[in-house]
């Protein structure tokens, strides 16, 4: 299908296009320079055109997500979507069922979503769910944090085996990057011990989070993986944890810089807390931001927005402590030899000093950092469901909205953070950076996040002028929640905020080479410890509906 988008105002940071009125040509699902004849023309009348949105960290499929769905039938009741024409039905506000996940993302102009934190043993489940998510292109990150094999090899100082194991596991689970959640902490908790710094030892294994992380970064560098280690730091959500975060960032000093960042720190908001207790809880964002600018790391924000949501992370101990605070239901999904994700619902309240401060920290980070370093996420559904992205965009774009909100929330948000004194307002060029371009760049999705020749024709059109009036923030929220048009691989899927068509997206995975001898070594672990055999663990390409492999030359 040939398509021409005429008279759009284009924001394409990766090609340096800042609000130029130009036409975009689409042929066979890709962007081309020119089409001579036979193309369908669409006049956009000066509306804003951006590459399709890209979510780098969103828990939309996998084992714990499904436990969340099972655990929260009352959440399903809040959002019931009936079947409509070709579109499937679904439910859920914070733990959305898979089909409406795709539709809701498309409505906001998002076309790619990466789901982090899948225990390798649950990878099959994740892929089968990803297969069913419509419209979006996806990828999955397997978890390496509490892996027995890796911890044993670190204790033996057998780096050769670690590198080969990382390559083998990514290939076996059809993953895309190395994900690390609270390295060592979850396994230590399984032995009834808590780790408080990155130099505490994991019992029974005798390794520290610092060693685990160093080994994994080294493996990712030597294998030349397109995305760096994707890290959820230790001590998430604890007052005073910003020091741990800074210590962790400093680990990257040992490594040589390459084309991409050495480390990705995810949902940074949850790791920027100062103070020594919940009473003296305050923002440590400024200190962390300084280190982020200095080092070769990328971050995503992990904004927290008010309302009821479900928290789920592979950080089992953190979820356990959270449910002790809230007294609400809780589940832990232990996965043998690998990790133990936890799930518990939470209500973030405007009246709470802690929640209000967390909300403000989530906005401080993007406002203090240069736009090249920022990526917007809510760590769906931990900080808020991803459907809150338009509100976050509006908060970044409009100082007036922030001032209005600061009046409505607990005064701690003003006194314990510096949000009130930050005047910066994002423009659409920067918004395009923090919601799509940066993500595509640091994850090595080279044909996404821009509108240059050869890029996949994933395009979002928003009903906004090129320089929107930032005091009318409600219009910004409306425009970003209901994309005027979303195009996925050259097919129009959303028109004026309504999903009109659905397509099947691709799942991207890495094809990494490893030495065959490692299989024999790993097989011993399967024989001795796992409840499944190695043959049943490896996922075949035939189990993925539509996939594209990225070869990695180490």
């Amino acid at each position: 299908m040939k398509l021409v988008l005429k008279n759009g105002v284009v924001f394409d940071p990766l090609n340096g296009i800042n609000g130029e009125k130009m036409d975009i040509y689409i042929k066979n699902g890709r962007i081309v320079n020119k089409i001579r004849f036979g193309a369908k023309e669409i006049d956009l009348e000066g509306r804003v055109v951006m590459p399709g949105g890209f979510d780098i960290h969103t828990h939309i499929a996998g084992g714990k997500e499904n436990v969340g769905r099972l655990m929260r039938p009352e959440d399903s009741l809040k959002n019931l979507v009936p079947r409509k024409g070709k579109l499937r039905s679904g439910s859920g506000k914070s733990v959305l069922s898979i089909h409406i996940t795709g539709y809701e993302y498309a409505k906001m102009g998002y076309t790619t979503a990466l789901t982090p934190a899948t225990p390798p043993l649950m990878a099959r489940h994740t892929h089968h769910e990803l297969n069913e998510i419509p419209i979006l292109d996806k990828a999955m990150f397997p978890l390496f944090d509490g892996n027995w094999y890796i911890m044993d090899r670190i204790a033996d100082r057998d780096f050769e085996a670690i590198r080969n194991y990382v390559a083998w596991l990514i290939s076996a689970t059809k993953g895309y990057a190395v994900k690390v959640v609270n390295p060592g902490g979850t396994e230590a908790w399984g032995w009834r011990k808590e780790l408080h710094s990155i130099d505490d030892e994991v019992p029974e294994f005798g390794v520290t989070p610092r060693e685990i992380l160093t080994a994994l970064i080294r493996a990712a560098e030597e294998l030349k993986l397109p995305h760096s280690v994707h890290l959820h730091c230790n001590n998430l959500g604890e007052p005073g944890n910003y020091e741990t975060t800074i210590e962790t960032i400093k680990i990257t000093e040992k490594f040589e810089r390459s084309e991409r960042p050495l480390l990705h720190l995810t949902h940074l908001q949850f790791h920027c807390y100062a103070g020594d207790s919940w009473k003296t809880f305050e923002s440590g964002a400024e200190e962390v931001v300084k280190e982020v600018v200095k080092h070769d790391v990328s971050v995503d924000t992990g904004n927290l927005m008010f309302g009821d949501t479900t928290t789920m992370t592979a950080d089992g101990p953190m979820e356990y402590h959270l449910q002790l605070l809230t007294g609400r239901k809780w589940a832990n999904k232990d996965v043998e030899l690998e990790t133990a994700p936890g799930i518990t619902p939470i209500l973030y309240s405007r009246k709470s000093p802690v929640n209000s401060t967390q909300w403000a920290i989530g906005l401080e980070i993007p406002l203090l950092l240069p736009a090249e370093k920022v990526m917007i996420t809510t760590d769906h559904p931990n900080g808020a469901p991803f459907t809150k992205y338009p509100e976050i965009i509006a908060l970044l774009m409009s100082r007036k909205y922030r001032e209005n909100m600061l009046e409505k929330v607990h005064k701690a948000a003003s006194s314990r953070t510096m949000l009130g004194s930050l005047d910066r307002e994002y423009d659409l060029y920067e918004i395009a950076m923090v919601t799509r371009a940066n993500q595509a760049k640091i994850t090595g999705f080279h044909d996404r996040g821009h509108l240059g020749e050869g890029a996949v024709a994933d395009i979002a059109v928003y009903d906004l002028p090129a320089e929107p009036d930032t005091s009318d923030y409600e219009k910004i929220i409306r425009a970003f929640s209901n994309a005027y048009m979303t195009i996925k691989r050259g097919e129009i899927v959303v028109k004026e905020g309504e999903v009109v068509n659905t397509v099947t997206g691709y799942t991207r995975y890495l094809d990494v080479k490893y030495d065959r001898w490692i299989e024999k070594d790993i097989n011993a672990y399967f024989r001795d410890y796992y409840s499944v055999s190695m043959q049943n663990y490896v996922i075949g390409v035939d189990e993925m509906r539509r996939c594209e492999s990225v070869p990695v030359q180490a």
């Binding site: 655990m71 039938p73 009352e74 959440d75 009741l77 007294g327 239901k329």
Partner: protein
């Protein structure tokens, strides 16, 4: 206001959450007849299933022999009065915020589910999950339910506020996991399991009905009568729930 007489026994259950007093008071008979109600998975008009008449007074009245197959009477209502002359089906008064429902017969399960205000009066018995919550949610938050007969299992489960009064017996786990409000019954089994706060008042209880998580704290006066007071359920951290029993039987 209006009287709805069910014409015949419906093949599948009817759902009448559109027939609320606050919506009906502005309409005339012809509009009401054209309103949509659910018949199983299909939508149909009120006229198909009910004879509609305008009557004296301010209440919406349901009549007919097969009203126990009519679900969601007064679902989410905020004001006015509904009278059911017979047995009401499931979800009667669920998500109710105000007003009053009088059922002259019995109600089926989930009556007053997630209720936050108003009053439900049941002249005969209530089914299971009276004043409970939607699966996974907290239960009743406010309002008042009076059952003149017996109640089924798990009445007032996860209750947060309001009042449930069962004049007869209540079933298993009466007021289980409750964190506020008051639940009263003549007798109940395993009352207050995992309760955190709130109060359960029983007129009679056998020794084995008091769960082991409750500790005896002495006698106290409540509504001019002397009750044995138990505190619990100690299986829950920081629990301050009260279980009052007037007569302990061996």
């Amino acid at each position: 206001m209006f009287l709805f007489r069910l014409k015949d026994e419906p093949e599948v259950c009817v759902e009448v959450d559109t027939l609320l007093p606050e919506k009906l008071k502005k309409l005339d008979v012809r509009d009401v007849k054209n309103l949509k109600v659910r018949l199983g998975k299909l939508e149909t008009s009120v006229e198909e299933l009910f004879d509609v008449e305008r009557v004296e007074g301010e209440s919406v009245i349901f009549e007919g022999k097969w009203l126990d197959r009519v679900k969601r009477i007064g679902f989410g209502m905020t004001e006015g009065e509904i009278v059911v002359r017979g047995n009401a089906g499931m979800y009667t008064g669920a998500f109710m915020k105000g007003g009053r429902i009088v059922v002259e017969g019995s109600v089926d399960r989930f009556a007053g589910m997630n209720m936050s205000g108003g009053e439900i009066v049941v002249r005969r018995n209530a089914g299971d999950y009276l004043g409970s919550g939607y699966r996974g949610d907290a239960g009743m938050k406010g309002g008042r339910i009076v059952v003149e007969g017996n109640a089924g299992d798990e009445a007032g489960i996860k209750m947060k506020g309001g009042e449930i009064i069962v004049k007869g017996k209540a079933g298993l786990f009466f007021g289980g996991m409750m964190s506020g409000g008051t639940a009263r019954a003549e007798r109940a089994e395993r009352a207050g399991a995992n309760m955190k706060n709130g109060m359960i008042v029983l007129e009679k209880a056998r020794d084995e009905d008091i769960l082991p998580g409750f500790t005896y704290t002495g006698k106290d006066e409540f509504e001019n009568r002397i009750y044995y007071v138990f505190e619990g359920d100690k299986a829950v951290r920081k629990s301050k729930g009260k279980l009052l029993v007037r007569e302990l039987e061996q």
